[in-house]
Subunit: 341 residues, 2 copies
């Protein structure tokens, strides 16, 4: 088998983030009036997006989307990757495409013509740095199996799928199709559970996926508990350990737990001066971990790279690197990297 | 005379900023190949904007435009203001409009239909926090006298004009028309010189304006020296002092000098932990000063408010407030504000 062209290919909802600072009062009022979920992601329709945008403060626009963020982080470490996701043929779509390509990621999906606008995630960042997300999927919902490029997926060591895709049927099909191609080519499939509410909406599907299609699972504490419908973290960890090759469970400031081959490896969080905006923290944790993984580094080091990347992204507004993650490798003297595709 | 509705109305180039981090090598190469001017603003055409954007790293989009930034800062202090500037009827134009209105500023200019796209300023931020700006004016060039709303201008204590407007004939006419309305209504006209190269291109016009139409002048050290074609700062200060009621000259980390009624008031810069991005520093200095001025505060305090606002904006990427400037007033106990329109 020839060397894979890509270390990582990601499939996700292509979204532009619109970030604004918001007070707790604003969130509380929106929770009451519109079912916004503090700290989580809510799907919204176009009319509601227009209404919420009008009520929001001044914003910063930056390319986002969970798997897109992970891909940007992976490339910032020096990894070679590709991205599959759907934007429209409009200004924000051009911004998303530029940012992917400028980060060194091959964005292989053509834009949608004549449909909804590029999707947007309206993100309210509270004074504690927590983000509350409201997603209008727009053109991203049009992603389907026809957008999965078999050559690209077959030539990646890992195909990384975003749990958020699991809200639309076309995207679910794309998701399964990509997983099949990856496995047929002898490569790995990774999944992030994305959001506890998303897990709650599609629990049976996620169980099936984790047990049958997923080699590397990413989740945070709430998501893994939601998957196994338990209030006990230990219980959830015990349940996941037999179901996939590697499970990576992040716990915010408590660090992360990597579960693999019967072992549990605790990884500490990196100390942070000030949490500005947690948007993208989980995405960048995955980026660091996966970069280490495709570089054949020990799982402890993979976890540490994830923690370093997460620390960088929560120190500023926005979900993608503002520094070069390859520089984070320098803090680990003696680290020997095998070349990552 | 009834109480003016607005404290400040600003007329400027309505632009969306696209900010990216850039190394010194990149700037040096672009200076050599395309005449980019490190630390200054260069006007570019659409084809060059497309080419430069493709060569740039991943970006952050945020509403900008010098006078627009000042207006956002003025509103963040709690001032009531309006903005006149031209965007297109496109996604970035909608972003600009949203951000103005969400900041509490009345954006009174209708969008341009069927012309060029909303203007963009491609900003390369070097590791020292300095910004190098490359502006494709787009729809902003279509601003003309027909966009000056006489009622709005006549109802503002101060009409603030951006020197950058002085590169296009239509905008120059708009500029002079606005100044006439303001003076006819018995109000003040403020001008920022904006950029030493812009001053160099239109020195005679600027001299005429400063001597005949401008009550309050803003400039930095380079701009005031460019205006009077002198290498001596003291010489430039001596020359400006007789030509307008108030001159405010900023000097970066050396603070600012306010010249009024034969007095020179030195204002120290506020200490800064780390300069992240100087984009908007001068604009926010003007915002703080003008908020103090319309609130009838002593010139020393006006200068200090400018310095506090400038400190906030250079601590993060982007040219507009990420905190509420009204909170900066709290660091000055005993401050008595008369209500600012």
């Amino acid at each position: 088998m020839s060397e894979p062209k890509y270390g990582l290919v990601a499939v996700g909802n292509a979204l532009v983030d619109v970030l604004t600072l918001a007070g707790e009062d604003f969130i509380a009022a929106q929770e009451k009036s519109h079912g916004m979920k503090r700290g989580a992601m809510s799907l919204i329709e176009e009319a509601r997006a227009t209404e919420l945008y009008a009520a929001m403060g001044p914003g910063v626009e930056v390319s986002g989307g969970s798997a897109g963020n992970t891909m940007a982080g992976f490339a910032s470490f020096g990894g070679k990757g590709a991205y599959i996701g759907k934007v429209a043929d409009d200004q924000l779509g051009a911004v998303f495409r530029h940012d992917m390509q400028a980060q060194g990621v091959d964005f292989v999906t053509p834009p949608l013509a004549g449909g909804p606008a590029t999707g947007r995630c309206l993100i309210l960042v509270t004074p504690d740095g927590q983000r509350t997300m409201n997603t209008y999927l727009g053109a991203a919902t049009e992603l389907g199996p026809q957008d999965i490029n078999p050559d690209v997926v077959a030539s990646a060591r890992i195909t990384y799928l975003e749990g958020y895709l699991y809200d639309k049927d076309q995207a679910k099909s794309a998701f399964k199709y990509a997983a099949e191609i990856a496995h047929d080519a002898g490569h790995k499939v990774a999944l992030t559970l994305s959001d506890p509410f998303c897990v709650g909406r599609h629990r049976d599907d996620f169980h099936y996926l984790v047990e049958n299609h997923v080699d590397i699972l990413f989740a945070n504490e709430e998501e893994i508990k939601a998957l196994y419908q338990t209030a006990s973290f230990d219980d959830a960890i015990a349940k996941v350990s037999g179901h996939c090759e590697v499970a990576v469970v992040t716990r915010g400031s408590k660090g992360a737990l990597v579960i693999a081959a019967g072992r549990q490896i605790a990884v500490r969080a990196e100390p942070v001066d000030r949490v500005v905006d947690t948007t993208g923290a989980g995405d960048q944790y995955a980026a660091g971990f996966l970069y280490g993984y495709v570089s054949a580094l020990p799982l402890e080091i993979c976890g540490r790279l994830g923690a370093l990347a997460a620390r960088e992204v929560i120190g500023h507004m926005g979900p993608r690197p503002e520094t070069k993650y390859a520089d984070l490798l320098k803090v680990m003297p003696g680290l020997k990297l095998t070349p990552a595709a």
